[in-house]
Each structure stands twice: as structure tokens, then as C-alpha cells.
Homo-oligomer: 196 residues x 2
């Protein structure tokens, strides 16, 4: 049973991830996480010092998971040009938002929940996460011939975040198409070098 700790830890993180993502940080109690993980609360506190520490672990887990997922998602798009890549991106967002019980991006919701606590460790992790996504976007766009990949990535981040907020608030998924259009046009104003 010596290596079971890591497995138990992961089970706790997984349970907390599911619950935090579904209902938010504040509204989910430690007891429910422990029950979902199939252990007692005391055991949970053996593995994690506090609820905040657990949250940090969950976010790190989510960070890795999300980056792996978008890399996997982008794999079939290796040959796409920047414009098609953008269209595919927002089409994927529209599809994602159709999922039942979709609640938008977990990191963003968490930051909003902790908006008055700028010093909270979770805020730093979320900031790093978003920066990593933006970096990945810039690299992806640059590799597909976008003229100013960093500026384009910033624009797309704005539109992605805005899109998720608007869809969540009003339930109108056509904002995804609007965002794609805006992103494409914005890109077209910095046209890529013609490739031979």
C-alpha cells in the first residue's frame, strides 16, 4: 500500500475538479469532495493542508489537462492556414458550449469568484494558465503564417473570453460566429506574407 498515496491524491483531485468545475469553489464543501472521492474528510486533510491547497492542486491538474487537450484538438489542423484555424477554433467553442451543463471556462469563473482576493494563490495559477494559452495561440498562428502572431493571439484571447461570457449570460451561441468573423477580419488587416 506504499504507493497508494499518489493514487488517492489523484482521486481527490479528480473529485474536487469535477465538483469545483460544476458548481464553483465556494459552494462545494470539503465533505462532499471527500465523499465523492470515497474517503473521509480526515484522510483528505492528510493529503492536503487546506481547501486552498487542494484548489491549487486542482488548478495545476487542470492546467496540464487543458493544454494537452488543445494540443490534441489542434493536431488535425496542422495544415490549416491561420484563417481556417481561427474558424475551427470558434466552431469548437460553439460546439463545446452546446454541452449540457456547460458553464464556461473553469479558470475564468474561478478568477471571478475570487475577484476580490488578488493575492490568492489560485489567481497566480490562473494568470499563468491564460498566458500559456495565449503563447500557444501565438505560436500556432505564427506557424500558420499570421503576420503579427502575438497581436493576433491577444485579439483572439479577448474574443474567446468575451464569447464565453456572452454565451453564458444570454445563451446566444451565435456570438461564436461573430467572434470568428471579427478575428478573421482583424487578421486580414495584417495579411501574412504570400508563401511560395
Amino acid at each position: 500500500m506504499r504507493g497508494a498515496a499518489a493514487e488517492t491524491r489523484q482521486r481527490i483531485v479528480g473529485a474536487a475538479y469535477d465538483l469545483f468545475y460544476a458548481e464553483g469553489f465556494g459552494r462545494v464543501g470539503i465533505d462532499r469532495i471527500a465523499a465523492q472521492a470515497g474517503i473521509t474528510k480526515r484522510s483528505l486533510y492528510y493529503h492536503f493542508d487546506s481547501k486552498d491547497a487542494l484548489l491549487a492542486a486542482v488548478l495545476e491538474f487542470h492546467h496540464g489537462l487543458a493544454l494537452a487537450r488543445i494540443a490534441e484538438w489542434a493536431a488535425p489542423l496542422a495544415a490549416a492556414d491561420a484563417g481556417d484555424f481561427i474558424d475551427a477554433l470558434f466552431a469548437a467553442l460553439a460546439l463545446w458550449s452546446r454541452e449540457q451543463h456547460w458553464t464556461g471556462a473553469g479558470m475564468t469563473r474561478l478568477v471571478m469568484e475570487l475577484a476580490d482576493l488578488p493575492g490568492h494563490p489560485a489567481r497566480a495559477i490562473a494568470a499563468r494558465h491564460k498566458a500559456a494559452i495565449e503563447d500557444w495561440l501565438a505560436a500556432s498562428l505564427g506557424a500558420r503564417g499570421a503576420a503579427e502572431p502575438r497581436a493576433a493571439a491577444r485579439t483572439i484571447m479577448l474574443l474567446l473570453e468575451g464569447c464565453q461570457a456572452m454565451i453564458l449570460i444570454g445563451g446566444d451561441r451565435t456570438y461564436a460566429a461573430t467572434a470568428a468573423l471579427v478575428a478573421r477580419r482583424s487578421l486580414a488587416l495584417n495579411p501574412p506574407e504570400p508563401r511560395p
Copy 2:
């Protein structure tokens, strides 16, 4: 004391507004609101059936207040063209975000907090609120000669929401300038009719 109810009610709404806006809905207890309003908890429940009902009243209050504020803000811009109007809009956002303890848009944060409760009354109020803002934007842009004011308003809503999220997450206020640029360019693609 026969007509004091309305005044007390408003004091409760004001206290709840301050606290909800500063710390969110879930993390503020009824006791604190009552204390801040200078009454007992039991008196609060005399005026409001539940915490949710109080939240609804707070949101209606905020809705009216926000619309009045943006109208007041826009008054000096009556003569501005659509492009300048957009620049002023995002400049105001950048300035607003510099306020100490700035936590972004209250309605958006609330919807994120209640993301898993699509049937919550507060969600409907928030949706109406955002729709009203978008309508106001479309009217303002149309009056300033924008070619497709509805599409432009949708674009700007996306960028406003995205901007607030990005600034809150990363603390980087230069996203406001990026958003203004994107909005302006997007507008320039649908150029207004030249005015005589």
C-alpha cells in the same frame, strides 16, 4: 413610521449591493448585510422573502443605476463619431479598471458564480441587463453613423466582456487598447456613409 419601509428597503438593497459587488453573492452572509444596513436579520427578512429575492432586488437596482451612469458618461460625447466613441469607451474601461479593488462587471461575475443554475432568477435579470447595454450601444453607434450598428454592438460587447476578463485575470490593462483597436478596425470594414 408608516412609510419608512421603502427607505429601509433601499438601505438594505444599498448595503447588499456594496457587499455583493465587493465579495460576491455566496461569500456574503445575510447577517453582514443586516449589520451594514443597521437593522437585525429578522427585519431584513420582513422586507425580503429570501436571500435570492434580495439579490433580485439588488440586480434591478444595479440595472437602473448602470444605465443611468452610462447615459451620463456618454452625454459629453454627443458630437463624437463612432470611432472616437469606441476609443472613449475602452479608455473609460481602462480607467475604471485602475480603481482600487476593481473586480470587473458585477453582473458578469454573478452569472459566473451562478453558472450552474441557469434557472436562477438572477440569470434572467443579468441577461436582460446585457441585452439592454447592447441595445444602447447599437443605438449610440447608429446615431453616430456606424453602418451596421447591431453587428458593431455585438462586436463591442464581445470585446468589452473579454477585456474585463483578461484585465482581471492577468492584470494587464493594455488589453483595453488592443480591444479598442480591434473594434475600430472591425467598424472601419463597414464604413459609415460619408456625411455631407
